[in-house]
């Protein structure tokens, strides 16, 4: 990064913090601090919702995912629009009418305190750990590629977020989320334009798309059904529907965004807007990844994108062997580049045989490059069995740092920081709300009001921020536990959703049946997780359906026993 890029990045960070603090000033009561006084317009809520869901890792990983695995990840979001409609009809009017501060508050009125506490507790564990990873995941990538200190990167993101989130509460979070989402989209669009302009002079975007398609990267829709296949039309539509319903309907970091809407209509419109925009947005980000892939068919990519692993191997006894692989890789990439240009030329003509022959040559050249990459990762593993052998997360940022002009690098870095900050801010805001409303006020200080509650909420935000920063600092030493934290959400979401569906729709189910049903549902998810290899999206379906089914059976069997007696 050049000085101009640093100026752009630092200016953006200072602006976000200052704007958040300024927007969120003068909060005098809990409703103002935690729900922005229920005064937000739909477009502010909509962009806050989108910025909350789109973490920095979304913008770093998603293009990399298209680079390695193609665009099929877009199917993950197919259930989202339907979930937005269901929530608009059910959750939004119920939460608004009851004037709750958290989703879990509703459960006590509908069921009892233990069900509310169970849901709040599961949220605090899951989101508290995930919040640390929201900071850590982009920080490790940025610090590796920029050679910045990991601890300082985490501290910069963490302290900036805590400052405006604690200071201004939900209003500050929503308004900065709005600005951050704008910066993110401008940054991504600028990167896309430069990417297309960086293609060889006689290669158009259509040509690049043809090359990416030939190499299997444009597989956006797959109608085949397979339980083990993580991303296909059915898992995305059905499993994704349950996941998105759980995330937007029961996760306080999202519920709090639409509870801040000034009316049912404003909140609903925000969700529906998200339902319309989210899939095209993800498609666009994945398409950037596919175009980065196409770009690297004409321009030699690094043998391995994760420079931390490359530095490690270069300092090991395998250094000379790796250097030899790099030289061979450069030659193989040149061959592939020529094959890609031949394919472009052939695909412009009308001769299918010529296209097929050029495609076969490109495939053969690609095969050779893959072999060399596999040999390189084999070296990493021989040197260190724990070494990272995937570099998906590093692909997009490597392109940005290598090929974007001065100023735009700073803008894209600002976009990545903005994405990290927006998700973290919403999470801290929600963690503090749940701690204060569902634990502190409910269990210890029923009568606490006004400035006292605002002050305590600020303290809770700072403490959760300190926990998240501490967890992020420590995460480097957690190894495979990080993956466990990542799937933690999918292990609990289905059960929590089941509790809420019972609350919304099945009036005859009482508190004890719902609570016991949730325990059975959770046991079913854990059993599925341990004994089968079905894709994680289906855990949400299992947890939800078993919770609802078990609660119904328990409720009915209880009634039968009462009648028999």
């Amino acid at each position: 990064m050049r000085p101009v890029d640093f100026v752009v990045l630092i200016s953006a960070l200072v602006f976000f913090v200052a704007y958040g603090v300024w927007k969120g000033r003068k909060q005098k009561d809990l409703e103002g601090y935690l729900l922005a006084g229920r005064s937000q317009r739909w477009y502010t809520v909509a962009l806050a919702i989108m910025a909350t869901q789109a973490s920095a890792i979304t913008f770093l990983s998603t293009p990399g995912q298209a680079y390695t695995d193609g665009m099929r990840f877009v199917q993950f979001y197919l259930g989202l629009p339907i979930a937005m409609i269901v929530l608009s009809i059910t959750a939004v009017p119920i939460f608004h009418r009851l004037k709750v501060y958290t989703a879990y508050e509703y459960l006590e009125g509908r069921f009892d305190l233990k069900t509310r506490s169970l849901a709040a507790f599961l949220f605090l564990i899951q989101r508290g750990l995930a919040c640390g990873l929201t900071i850590y995941a982009p920080a490790i990538i940025i610090s590796t590629l920029m050679r910045w200190d990991l601890g300082i990167t985490i501290l910069v993101i963490g302290i900036a977020v805590v400052t405006y989130t604690a200071s201004g509460g939900t209003k500050a979070v929503n308004h900065t989320n709005f600005q951050q989402m704008v910066v993110i989209m401008v940054g991504m669009f600028a990167a896309f334009v430069v990417l297309i302009m960086s293609l060889p002079r006689d290669v158009s975007m259509l040509d690049a798309t043809r090359v990416a398609g030939h190499m299997g990267k444009l597989n956006a829709i797959d109608f085949s059904f397979d339980w083990q296949n993580r991303y296909n039309f059915w898992s995305g539509l059905i499993g994704g529907f349950f996941l998105q319903l759980a995330y937007f309907g029961t996760d306080q970091s999202q519920v709090q965004r639409y509870l801040s809407g000034s009316s049912v209509g404003q909140s609903r419109l925000a969700l529906l807007f998200n339902g319309m925009i989210k899939i095209p947005m993800q498609f666009f980000i994945l398409f950037i990844g596919a175009m980065v892939f196409a770009f690297y068919q004409f321009t030699a990519p690094p043998l391995f994108f994760n420079t931390a692993e490359v530095r490690t191997i270069q300092a090991s006894p395998y250094a000379s062997e790796y250097e030899r692989l790099e030289q061979e890789h450069r030659l193989a990439a040149e061959v592939k580049s020529r094959a890609a240009l031949d394919y472009v030329e052939a695909s412009r003509g009308d001769d299918p045989a010529l296209v097929a022959a050029a495609g076969a040559r490109l495939d053969a050249a690609d095969e050779r490059v893959h072999e060399l990459r596999e040999q390189a990762t084999g070296l990493f593993t021989r040197n260190n069995p724990e070494a990272a052998t995937t570099d998906t997360n590093y692909v997009f940022l490597t392109f940005v740092l290598g090929y974007l002009p001065v100023g735009l690098v700073g803008l894209v870095m600002a976009a990545i920081f903005a994405a990290a900050m927006s998700s973290t801010a919403s999470e801290l805001n929600a963690l503090a709300s749940t701690t204060i409303v569902d634990i502190y006020k409910r269990m210890f200080h029923h009568d606490a009001t006004g400035l006292h509650m605002v002050l305590i909420s600020k303290v809770a935000t700072v403490l959760w921020g300190a926990f998240a920063i501490g967890f992020a600092m420590y995460a480097n030493r957690l190894g495979s536990l990080i993956e466990a934290v990542n799937i933690l959400g999918s292990l609990f979401y289905g059960t929590i959703l089941g509790i809420f569906l019972l609350a919304f729709y099945v009036k005859r189910v009482g508190a004890s049946a719902a609570f016991l049903g949730a325990l059975v549902g959770e046991a079913a998810v854990i059993w599925t997780f341990r004994t089968s290899d079905i894709s994680f999206l289906w855990y949400n379906v299992v947890g939800c359906l078993v919770t609802v089914g078990a609660a119904l059976v328990i409720q009915e069997s209880g009634r039968l026993r009462t009648r028999d007696a």
Binding site: I89, R97, G109, N219, A220, L272, M276, I279
Partner: protein, 50 residues
Amino acid sequence: MQNPNEPVERIVIEEERPPVGGTWRRLYTIVLLTLVADVVIFWIFTKVFS
């Protein structure tokens, strides 16, 4: 907090019209049609380029 066991959806839906788009039913239909259009476009995209 009010009693959550009271039926609420019907009252609120009838009370409030959307800020834009006419009726909620129309907006829900638009969202669903957008989803269908996305799937169809992506399917064509996959077929054409893969």
